[in-house]
Symmetry: C2
Subunit: 325 residues, 2 copies
């Protein structure tokens, strides 16, 4: 069970941290770490203290507080501010950097991740020549339940898993657009060599699509509940249509009138765009499942680039622009 493996990994990290700092692995520190890790969410020192006391009545508030400081320092925890002027902590290990939407009337919070926001942060920080340390974006509001005066049921999800889910969804959609794109090109191609090349590419994309669908099944099988989690990766799906144009868009661009050369170049620039996009995307995240998905996906796009480049060389002669990534 990977959840247990992750637990063990985190304990090991903490142990290593303690060792490096010549600190001791004590019963209290273990209990506190366990309690902290097993509770997804945003624990305040007091909440954690209460939880710890259920396991061990003798542990004091100060110890909890001191241990959380150590955990933050070791990189396993992150202190967050939910606007209630108390220290809150959330697990950080293999979780992407994200932000919070906080209900001001109930304790509900929603986490979300936005690469656009991360990018904006980078822009702003470099523009003012700051060396970035950390950044938070908090949105306060009244949640749907509170607006309707409904009782709120509170659920926590593993953000790494939810991120993986969202990343897979995006990859799947892109792959589908890709299949469609090549089928359109094939249908429009007058040159039979061109048609074959595009059909091959479509088949290639379909193969990847099947693989991704397999990963999706595995993810859902492992954790059905993850499907109920709210969207975590805040993503502009219009972006996808910019990578692989929708059928309508293709028609607008008069794909059917393209020469073989033009069609190949179009395909090449699409794949390059997609590769760059997902590579840039993957770079934004910590070591997470979602990052791995985007990375793998970017690599596949790169292979597509090379395939098409080969087709170009074969069908049009080797006088074509070299690959850029």
């Amino acid at each position: 069970m990977p959840a247990n493996r992750e637990l063990a990994e985190q304990k090991e990290i903490f142990a290593a941290y303690l060792k490096k700092k010549k600190l001791k692995i004590t019963r209290q520190r273990q209990v506190i770490l366990d309690s902290f890790l097993k509770t997804e969410g945003h624990l305040s020192t007091e909440e954690l203290y209460n939880q710890v006391r259920q396991k061990d009545r003798t542990i004091g508030y100060a110890t909890v507080s001191r241990t959380m400081k150590a955990l933050t320092d070791s990189g396993l925890a992150r202190e967050i501010d939910l606007g209630d002027s108390r220290s809150r902590f959330e697990p950080l290990y293999k979780r992407p950097h994200h932000h919070h939407i906080i209900c001001v009337e109930c304790p509900k919070t929603i986490e979300f991740l936005s690469p656009e926001l991360e990018q904006l942060q980078e822009q702003v920080v470099s523009h003012y020549r700051f060396r970035p340390v950390r950044h938070h974006f908090q949105v306060f509001g009244i949640c749907e339940d509170c607006q309707k005066h409904r009782p709120a049921r509170h659920e926590d999800f593993d953000s790494d898993l939810v991120f993986a889910r969202d990343a897979l969804r995006i990859a799947l959609q892109t792959e589908k657009n890709g299949v469609n794109f090549y089928q359109s090109l094939a249908k429009a191609a007058t040159d039979p060599r061109g048609r074959n090349a595009f059909l091959e590419m479509a088949a290639e994309e379909e193969k990847h699509l099947r693989e991704l669908e397999g990963e999706w099944e595995a993810l859902v099988k492992r954790n059905k509940r993850v499907l109920k989690a709210p969207v975590f990766l805040h993503f502009d799906y219009n972006e996808l249509n910019r990578l692989f144009p929708s059928p309508e868009e293709l028609q607008k661009r008069h794909v059917e009138q393209l020469s073989l050369e033009e069609a190949l170049h179009l395909a090449l620039s699409m794949e390059q765009g997609a590769h760059r996009f997902f590579k840039r995307y993957a770079e934004k995240f910590n070591d997470t499942r979602g990052k791995a998905i985007f990375q793998k996906f970017a690599e596949e796009e790169l292979e597509h680039c090379e395939l098409i480049q080969k087709e170009c060389d074969r069908l049009l002669g080797p006088s074509n622009p070299p690959l850029q990534h």
Copy 2:
């Protein structure tokens, strides 16, 4: 002097607020409001308390605290979190909603405004069906001075004025692009009627350009120091090239080969795009000088739309698509 007028307006707002709440206008409240308003920046309760004590030794901490709560409630102040776990306040009246970059090694903060961030916030909030209340974006880092271990000189600027400066800069640049755009179209036009129409449009844009330059002069004359303030409105200048393409971009799009009809439609869609863009932009801001600049600008673009529409009707017959905004 407009600074005094604004001061008076704010006092009036506070007076009205107190009246509505059946509270009294006392000497203490006046002293506190004055102190708060005359100091740009991010005062903590204690800092404000110390300042207030210079005018009136008898005023207590609690009074300052209570008054700041009232000011926040009245909408004149906003409580901000600079990560030092104390309440800080900044003036809110006629100032755009903005965010902070905070140096973790010295007390320097930089304010910036980003419509993209505001938009992202709106997207996220509506996506999760929250009713938005407020939002903050804080970036912590080490400022340039601290990176170089230089002593920091601290300067405060009136963010409304700086915003106006940045808005004017954007409007000026757009207007210049517009002039260039129409001159290119005129140069390329084969039809003399079309050439005249585009030259007229270019002249129109130049007239607006002169007006904007006048406003710029006035702004700088009023407050020279404002030129030294760091960029406040964080704006992606690439956006401008999307509104009015650069000369290189125009060449790529083969402007010189466009028919009169195509050229007119291109112009119309550019103007519509610019109008929508600046209108949407203006909507994002409180009642500020910057908002007014964008609003006025959006209106001018709308007038351009109508002008071009008329040209279309005149030159191509009235069978053209109706204006949309």
